[in-house]
């Protein structure tokens, strides 16, 4: 019997892996991939809770999250491409103009 905690643990693992990707990837696009994973994990969480509580709000929330994620990816990648045009690189280490 797979309980709620199993799904939540799975989601937590995927979230951590995604965080690891965000922290260690050099390429900006790679970072965005990590963010995707994290958002994915969140979605799993939402659906699991919605299923086990009988509340449909969780599912609606999931839909919204997916939609927003898509929008974010679109805009984010547009920014990455714009940066690439100017600086000819998308390496995250090189994009430090806001350095203190």
């Amino acid at each position: 019997m797979i309980g709620l905690s199993a799904y939540l643990t799975l989601a937590a693992l995927v979230f951590s892996i995604g965080l690891f990707g965000v922290l260690t990837r050099r390429n900006a696009v790679g970072i965005l991939l990590g963010i995707e994973l994290m958002l994915n994990a969140v979605n799993i969480n939402l659906v699991a809770f919605a299923r086990f509580s009988g509340n449909v709000t969780g599912l609606v929330f999931t839909l919204f999250t997916i939609a927003i994620t898509v929008a974010e990816v679109a805009v984010g990648l547009a920014i990455v491409i714009a940066i690439f045009r100017v600086r000819r690189t998308v390496e995250a280490d090189r994009l430090d103009l806001l350095r203190g």
Binding site: L19, V22, L23, T24, I31, A92, D93, L95, D96, L97, L98, R99, G100
Partner: protein
């Protein structure tokens, strides 16, 4: 205010009024001779008042509260007139008056503004010295003590453009200040033990004070500085940079005697500490001998007289230490007369010849007979030849020291008597007799200078005769009663021996002075270099004071500044490190967020 206090008060107030007038009314002061006349006039009136006080034998004491407190005033000011202060009043006003008259002629080449400044200082000095003499307690005495020291500084450095004079003034101030430190500490200790500064009360309460020897020793230190006892005597020869009338007044008759006066005034206190008295006697006798040896090799006529003053001050202190304070005080009075005489006469010589160096003088007696005569009179008095005043006071001192069974000091003082006669007649023979030198054109001094000279010479003789007739009535000093019979012939014999020695060496040339110098080689060497004391003091000053200031400078530069520099460097470095957080890289910021989340989780866990 009791009616009889009016006269002493007038004596004190008159020079003060002159001082204030001259200090405030600048046009009057800048007029030069007019300022001098104002000062002389007030001093003449003060002298008349002092004379009246002495003649009437006025004894009175009056005090006014200065710092009131519940258990009686903390400090008072006032006037104490007794036999001791009567005599001093007369001496101070008389010599001041004569010196101020003399100065009109001696300093007539000075610009009027400077002359006015001179007389302002003279009036201030007279006021200060009189205030010291009339003080009923240690506190007032100390205040005027310091004022007198200030006036000494101002007058020694009268010709302040001269570096030597400026240095000498500062040196005098510093050295006497050393003694004054002990003095004030002693005074305060005494006050904290007894609760009073006033002499009359102290005489009653002093027996019960513990640690009295130390306190009286500290107080004695003030006299060591002011009255040029060894080792604080080094300022007096240098003080000769001041004008000669100043030397006559301050460094012969009045200021330097303040130390002796103080010891005499506080005699009941010193009598309670015989060990300190013995020390005073030994130091006094040693000072007398030491200074006499230095006078024997000195070529500057004023310096000879300065060393002579140190030597005679040693006599006075030795007498006080031997318990014969009255004898010492008598010597103070007589010495004041003939030493002032000698200085003023020397001033006349310097004024005429244009140099202080006796070896550039010679045969002056022919050109300046008046000066010569009075100088010889002074010399005889100083050497202790009867029936002049010096003989009686010197004999009293020697008698007192002998009576106290202080053999060492007695021998030193006896030897000093011989040397005194020797070095004084040495000067007489070199300067006034022998071959004439070409320097200047020696002429007799103007009457404004000669007058005071003759007055002082006459007084020396008259006082001597009076003493011979048996004691000064109302002068507060008694002639000695029971001196050993051989003392008088001894002192005369010593004087005669000194005279003969000088005559043989310098007048007749029978004994070569150079050969004597080589025979007494080491002594001659040391005496010429003032026994290295000045070098020692300069070395100590340079070593200790400058070393100390260098240390402080190092501390300031390396520790204080260093501390600040370290702090600022640390701040800068910390700032640079902290700046690293702002790397501009987004991933680093995510790290930050992750940390924050972790912290929140931990906190949430704990808060359960």
């Amino acid at each position: 205010m009791a009616p009889s206090i009016g006269l002493p008060l007038a004596v004190l107030a008159l020079p003060f009024i002159a001082f204030v007038l001259l200090a405030v009314a600048a046009p009057l002061r800048r007029a030069g001779r007019a300022a001098g006349l104002v000062s002389i006039l007030t001093m003449a009136l003060a002298f008349a008042a002092a004379l009246t006080v002495w003649a009437r034998g006025l004894v009175v004491e009056a005090t006014w509260t200065w710092i009131p407190a519940d258990g009686g005033p903390i400090a008072s000011v006032g006037l104490m007139v007794d036999s001791l202060s009567q005599a001093m009043l007369v001496l101070v006003t008389l010599v001041s008056l004569l010196v101020q008259i003399y100065s009109l002629a001696y300093l007539h080449d000075e610009p009027p503004a400077s002359l006015g400044r001179y007389y302002t200082y003279q009036s201030l000095f007279a006021f200060s010295m009189l205030g010291l003499v009339l003080a009923p307690g240690f506190l007032q005495m100390f205040i005027f003590w310091e004022l007198v020291g200030l006036c000494s500084y101002l007058l020694i450095g009268y010709w302040y453009e001269r570096p030597a004079a400026a240095r000498a003034a500062v040196k005098a101030f510093w050295i006497t200040k050393l003694g004054d430190v002990g003095f004030i500490i002693g005074i305060v200790l005494l006050w904290s033990a007894t609760g009073t500064f006033e002499f009359t009360e102290l005489f009653d309460k002093a027996q019960s004070v513990s640690g009295l020897p130390l306190i009286m020793f500290l107080i004695y230190l003030g006299a060591v500085g002011k009255s040029a006892q060894f080792p604080l005597h080094v300022w007096l020869p240098d003080a000769m940079e001041g004008p000669t009338p100043v030397s006559a007044l301050i460094h012969a008759a009045t200021m330097v005697t303040a130390g002796v006066f103080m010891v005499t005034r506080a005699e009941p206190l010193f009598a309670l500490v015989p060990e300190v008295l013995t020390l005073i006697a030994w130091v006094g006798a040693f000072t007398a001998l030491l200074a006499a040896t230095m006078a024997c090799v000195e070529g500057d006529i004023k310096r000879v007289l300065a060393y002579s003053t140190v030597s005679q001050l040693g006599y006075m202190m030795a007498a006080a230490g031997a318990g014969a304070a009255q004898a010492g005080f008598l010597h103070l009075l007589t010495h004041g007369l003939f030493k002032a005489l000698l200085f003023l006469a020397a001033g006349a010589v310097i004024h005429a010849v244009g140099t202080n160096d006796v070896f550039r003088m010679g045969g002056l007696f022919r050109a300046m007979p008046h000066t010569g005569i009075v100088f010889i009179v002074g010399t005889l008095a100083l050497a202790g030849v009867p029936p002049l005043a010096g003989f009686f006071s010197k004999e009293a001192v020697l008698g007192g020291v002998w009576e106290a069974h202080l053999t060492g000091p007695f021998l030193m003082l006896a030897l000093t008597a011989l040397l005194t006669a020797f070095y004084m007649f040495r000067v007489v023979f070199i300067a006034f007799f022998g071959r004439a030198h070409a320097g200047g054109h020696p002429h007799e001094a103007p009457w404004l200078m000669r007058g005071p000279l003759w007055i002082l010479a006459l007084l020396t003789v008259l006082v001597g005769l009076r003493l011979a007739a048996g004691g000064l009535a109302g002068g507060g000093v008694e002639g000695h009663e029971e001196a050993p019979g051989w003392l008088a012939p001894l002192s005369v014999g010593l004087a005669l021996a000194g005279f003969l020695l000088a005559w043989a060496m310098y007048q007749r040339g029978v004994i070569e002075s150079a050969r004597v110098a080589t025979a007494l080689g080491p002594l001659d060497f040391m005496a010429r270099r003032r026994y290295g004391l000045d070098t020692l003091y300069a070395g100590l000053y340079r070593g200790i004071m400058l070393g100390f200031s260098r240390l402080i400078g190092w501390i300031d530069r390396y520790l204080v500044d260093g501390l600040l520099n370290v702090l600022s460097a640390l701040t800068l470095r910390a700032g640079a490190r902290l700046r690293g957080i702002q790397s501009g890289k987004a991933q680093d910021y995510v790290y930050g967020v992750a940390f924050g989340v972790l912290l929140l989780i931990v906190w949430a866990q704990l808060w359960r």
